[in-house]
């Protein structure tokens, strides 16, 4: 097995301790940090995501893999920054105003990170104006909104309306949460809808490409 393949397997299996030496060795061998991310980490998380989607593993196992990836990134990121390399996509995610549910949002954030996106998590109960402010600050390519209460679905619409009136009006918006449907997404002018955390990455990539 090649070293990059070993790294991939270590991430898949969540063997955090194996990751650090492998990354250092690869760097010592002169491999480009960007290549390590693109050929080691991202494919590893894709495998993990696929296994989860096929009901072969559960989220805790994904989290362990995500942590292993994070260990690698902790070494690689400073190098990437120095070389001016950034993740291709930046995403802002939040649960809307009046709603405190964050498990679903957190899962989606984790999965997007696994797909090598830069995810800025604004937390829960986020008012529309705070959201617009954050967009101005971070200039994301994608916005992801979550709501779990029927009575905070209107807050989702308000947030989208506020974004559409702001300079960031053309940014793609995806939404999700238990009471949300494709029809509601159409009604309030969201660009995408994800039925569950597992398909969030697919939805995001469809919107971004």
């Amino acid at each position: 097995m090649s070293k990059i393949e070993s790294l991939k397997q270590s991430v898949i299996n969540g063997k955090r301790k194996e990751v650090e030496p492998l990354v250092n060795e690869l760097l010592a061998e002169g491999m480009n940090p960007k290549k390590i991310v693109e050929e080691g980490l991202v494919p590893a998380m894709a495998v993990v995501g696929e296994r989860y989607k096929n009901n072969e593993i559960f989220v805790p196992e994904m989290l362990v893999a995500a942590r292993a990836m994070k260990t690698a990134l902790a070494i690689l990121e400073p190098l990437l920054v120095k070389a001016g390399i950034k993740p291709k996509y930046k995403v802002i995610i939040a649960t809307v105003e009046g709603d405190l549910h964050d498990i679903g949002k957190n899962l989606v954030a984790m999965m997007l990170r696994g797909a090598d996106m830069d995810v800025i998590d604004l937390g829960v109960n986020v008012p529309a104006d705070k959201f617009v402010e954050a967009i101005g600050q971070h200039s994301p390519q994608l916005i992801a909104l979550s709501a779990l209460l029927t009575t905070t679905m209107p807050a989702m619409k308000n947030t989208i309306d506020a974004v559409r009136r702001s300079p960031g009006k053309n940014i793609k918006i995806m939404i999700g949460g238990a009471p949300i449907t494709q029809q509601f997404a159409n009604e309030i002018g969201a660009d995408g809808y994800s039925q569950d955390a597992a398909s969030a990455v697919d939805t995001a990539l469809k919107l971004l490409n």
Binding site: I103, T150, T151
Partner: protein
């Protein structure tokens, strides 16, 4: 208020009739108001006595419903469809509730229902503005009074304000804006005639969510048995005082945000069913605290752990199963009814179905479910047990959580809890007992557990077994491990 209240005092309270079906004179109440019950034995220790409709400590309402007195009553819940809760929408919002309650009670009267529990679980802004919550409560109470006057329909209101304390992050639990307003809504609605007080309290949830998605049983026990339990002690002592003042009942709490979150995550295959099952068992330690602080039931509907609590306390319990499928899918559709005293739909939006508005549809379904149970009970205790046997056999072999909640297994779990000398040890003991029950049944071919779930059982068992014996040591271990930015130990009376 300490947890290990002397058993002698607990027995004194028992002998004074503190847990009874109607309030005694005020004098005896005020003398016992400051003590907590510490359950050291079971109120129900034979599976055949743990059945629907009948509880050793029934609760009598003002209009003469006797919950746990032989009849299972429907308990109706409802919520708004998608609508923003703000002043401008208030007339429409009030109309929704007005329409919900009048149609549902109308249907209950048409179907000759012997009595109905109405739960008003408010929406967060209605607790933040207690006058809003009170206005809706009053609307419901007025309709209930009218249905009683017109049709002789008995009903009682369960008031469930929101625990908004988590709107501040980390949650501010023991003081502040959200606590004050929540207590104000309890106080005013109890004064207005809401006879049953409930809540889904959130203490510990800020750490439990993360523990769930990581299947981290140590943090689950810390969140439920240390943090959650301490917060419930604080909160339910306050509610006990309110209940005493207005001569209403503390009905009970539920580990909804804990046990049901785990259950739903398991249904969505995010975490394993086996782990969700262990979590359910541990939630009983936390939910029990309400009863230790004076609650008398009926325990709140969405606490599937209620059957364990019924064995310990003898109080009647609300439960929900197949007719709550509108609110959440469940692997316990029938078995959940095995020991219920009220039977609930959990929640449904006020939206139009082909027949009628959804809450009216739920009311009809619940009434028919209850009729069937009450027919069996009416015939004989044996008949009730026969129906219960089918309810159990329907679900128990197919799902680990259903399996540990059979009357027999619930009693085993209840024993593990009352046999422990602290909530921490109770949490450990009940987790291990749940695992033991699952493993034994799986080996005997009596319970289906998916192969990919099995390794989790061993993993969780080992973690629990390896926990320190000493509670203080456990607490200080955990305080080092958990994400300290997420919670404030002082809000739980823990020293940092």
């Amino acid at each position: 208020m300490c947890y290990r209240c002397a058993q002698s005092i607990a027995e004194l309270i028992d002998s004074m009739g503190a847990r009874r079906s109607s309030w005694p004179g005020e004098t005896s109440i005020s003398t016992i108001g400051n003590y907590m019950t510490h359950y050291t034995k079971l109120a129900i220790d034979r599976a055949e006595d743990l059945r629907f409709g009948t509880a050793p400590q029934p609760v009598s309402t003002r209009r003469g419903m006797i919950i746990g007195g032989g009849t299972v009553y429907p308990e109706l819940n409802f919520t708004l469809p998608s609508i923003e809760i703000k002043k401008e929408n208030w007339p429409e919002i009030r109309n929704h509730y007005q329409q919900i309650i009048s149609s549902a009670l109308q249907r209950a009267a048409e179907l000759d229902c012997p009595g109905v529990v109405i739960e008003f679980e408010t929406l967060p802004p209605m607790t933040e503005h207690p006058e809003w919550g009170l206005e809706i409560a009053q609307t419901l109470l007025d309709s209930m009074e009218k249905a009683h006057a017109t049709h002789g329909l008995k009903s009682v209101l369960r008031m469930t304000p929101n625990d908004n304390r988590e709107f501040v992050r980390p949650p501010q639990l023991r003081s502040g804006y959200h606590l004050e307003r929540m207590l104000q809504l309890f106080e005013t609605s109890a004064a207005a005639g809401a006879e049953l007080l409930s809540i889904e309290s959130v203490g510990g949830k800020e750490l439990h969510d993360q523990a769930l998605v990581e299947c981290d049983i140590s943090q689950v026990i810390f969140a439920l048995c240390i943090l959650g339990a301490r917060d419930m002690e604080f909160l339910w002592s306050k509610l006990h005082e309110i209940a005493l003042r207005h001569r209403v009942y503390c009905a009970g709490d539920t580990a909804c945000g804990f046990g049901n979150t785990a259950m739903v995550l398991a249904e969505q295959k995010i975490i394993t069913r086996a782990f969700a099952t262990v979590v359910r068992a541990v939630t009983a330690v936390r939910s029990l605290v309400a009863y230790e602080c004076g609650a008398v039931g009926p325990g709140k509907d969405c606490g599937y752990e209620n059957v364990i609590l019924k064995a310990i306390t003898g109080c009647p319990m609300a439960m929900e199963g197949k007719s709550a499928a509108c609110a959440h899918l469940s692997s316990m559709g029938n078995i959940a009814a095995a020991a219920c005293d009220t039977w609930s739909n959990e929640s449904v939006q006020n939206i139009r179905l082909l027949s009628a508005m959804a809450p009216t549809v739920s009311m009809e379904q619940l009434i028919y479910d209850c009729r069937l149970m009450n027919q069996a009970t009416h015939e004989s205790k044996d008949s009730a047990l026969t129906l219960q046997r089918w309810m159990i056999a329907s679900d128990a072999a197919l799902d680990p959580q259903a399996f540990i909640l059979t009357p027999e297994n619930s009693i085993a779990l209840a024993k593990a809890i009352v046999g422990a000398d602290s909530r921490y040890h109770a949490g450990q003991a009940v987790a291990l007992e749940a695992i033991r029950l699952m493993k034994k049944a799986h080996e005997a071919g009596k319970l289906k557990i998916a192969p990919r779930e099995l390794p989790w059982l061993d993993r969780v068992e080992k973690t629990v077994t390896d926990l320190p014996e000493d509670e203080d040591e456990f607490i200080s271990d955990m305080m080092e491990t958990v994400d300290a930015s997420k919670y404030n130990p002082a809000e739980y009376g823990l020293k940092t």
